[in-house]
Symmetry: C2
Subunit: 336 residues, 2 copies
Amino acid sequence: MTNIKKVSELAGVSTATVSRTLKSPEQVTEATRDKVMQAVKQAGYRPNWLASSVKSGKSNSIVVLVPNLTNPFFLRIIGGIEQAAQEKGYSVLLGDTQGDSKRENEYAGMVLSNRADGLIQLDHSFPFAPQDAELADNVPMVSVCERIEGERKYPVIELDNYAASRALAHHLVGYGHQKFAAIVGQISSQIYRERLAGIRSVLQEENLPLPDEMLVGGSYTIEAGIEGVRQLLKQPVRPTAIFCFNDDIAIGAIHEIKKYGLRVPQDISVVGFDNIKVSAFIDPPLTTVDQPAYDMGRRAFEVLSVLMRGESLTRIREILPFQLVERQSSGPVHSS
Amino acid sequence: MTNIKKVSELAGVSTATVSRTLKSPEQVTEATRDKVMQAVKQAGYRPNWLASSVKSGKSNSIVVLVPNLTNPFFLRIIGGIEQAAQEKGYSVLLGDTQGDSKRENEYAGMVLSNRADGLIQLDHSFPFAPQDAELADNVPMVSVCERIEGERKYPVIELDNYAASRALAHHLVGYGHQKFAAIVGQISSQIYRERLAGIRSVLQEENLPLPDEMLVGGSYTIEAGIEGVRQLLKQPVRPTAIFCFNDDIAIGAIHEIKKYGLRVPQDISVVGFDNIKVSAFIDPPLTTVDQPAYDMGRRAFEVLSVLMRGESLTRIREILPFQLVERQSSGPVHSS
DNA sequence: CTGTTAGCGCGTTCAA
DNA sequence: TTGAACGCGCTAACAG
């Protein structure tokens, strides 16, 4: 272990001088600076980050809780967080929770034990264990996409899911569709409610139905899309347009629809949500709502950064712009 | 800041007793244990992780360097690492390097300054800055998929890329293909050389050519696949089979081939590498080589774990099994 | 400008 | 079994 003491002896100065030379070189004579720097080099010295952090009480790390690492959409968000964090000298501790609350509790606990200074939650659950709830009151925490449930309100960076769903619905209604279905994601979340409400509002305005049996799914996976289509196609009436609550679901849905010998969009239009990379390159390219995932990540860190500095926020909710991306998976209803 | 001292005062014992009660409860009387535990609860005390780590000199964290977070294949590897790490009480510091050596240097430096105990590199470059090379001699480091370049050999968990490429080549040769092309990834890596060598070895055995103008690409992206196909289709002779060096490239390639009005696999067979999730659900489903990404990640951590314990390794190179996944993007050559 | 001293929060001696 | 004291490696305060 090559520590500051060794360097100080090597350079013939005090440990304090070594520390100063490295932190604020301008406060030191050029002569001593040279001596110290040479000793540092010779000893191969690196300040022990752990030790300096004990003093400052700051770890300069944040925990990012993600329910599912395999979802490429989350990846882009994490990329944005990581980028912004790195620029400010923060490290990102990755917490893959698999939606398991035990794991969430564990990871969340890191910020209670000074292993991290803040927390970004990509899921909708309150990540702390019940017995830690009070302690958690003072931890900087931000949620992205989803909204953390519970009494206490945390800042959230999200999309206007209601408006985005309305945009999709209008898009499909504009093509003359009347028989709709939806393959939804996680039902217990705010996102589910808002997106569904958005769709419903448009359909009601147009006097179009969205019967309960046309609502299937329950998770944001390709498999859910496949299974969803199977269920929908068992119904007596076939929908001509399907809202998928994310692009993975849509990819599964399109795949399965084709398996049934049906065509997209001639027989069934499919729309998604997220605009992940591949969505533009599947066949047919997917009509979807683009979410500025990377920017959402960046912004989430910036907001967290404010919180970690102990400052207070003007806005507790930031809504980022979405964009309807019209591709070829949606089209006019085909009169049969 | 609720520290050990406060708890000790609250419980009417010394700080040492508090520390002991939490670390080795059996060394403490039940009476005092109860007192302490109650005080801990009441004060909402959590041992300061930073402080305890200074003592032990271990951060129980590792850095994972990934060149590109948007590649779903890397994600699965990271998932495996994260999982294994969590089980052993380690945290994962995510380092998105974007292939930038400055960033690599910075992240790699973390392990020199005790911010992390070890390093897993997913890229092929030696991540430390030249001036840190000596220091780096003693840091636990493992590479996955790629092999870290340089004098010193680090443990590597990889695939038999040579054999896997041969399997793909045999598969295509078996379908009667004679005109081959390849859209490759990063050229500067070992993987590139091995995969290409594997393909070449089979083609030579069969007396089939792989002319230089049939080698295009240079990065592991969808865009590279698209651009690659454009270049290939400009050539006077059209290949009937294309090796794509990963699935993303293949997805781009298939997309672009269809744009030209050609069919996969009737006009051109396409094969990939990695077997990412979507590959099974694109149209046509992709023939590819399945890499056990998750297991590779797990194994990488386990090997790193051995290194971090200061033990030495029996094998410095671990080769995990691949599997040829035959789907519908490859087929018999169509006589025109 | 530099050295001495103190202390961050904790774990681990060594006595008692 | 418990407590006092020391030290981890570093930095901040104060003298000089």
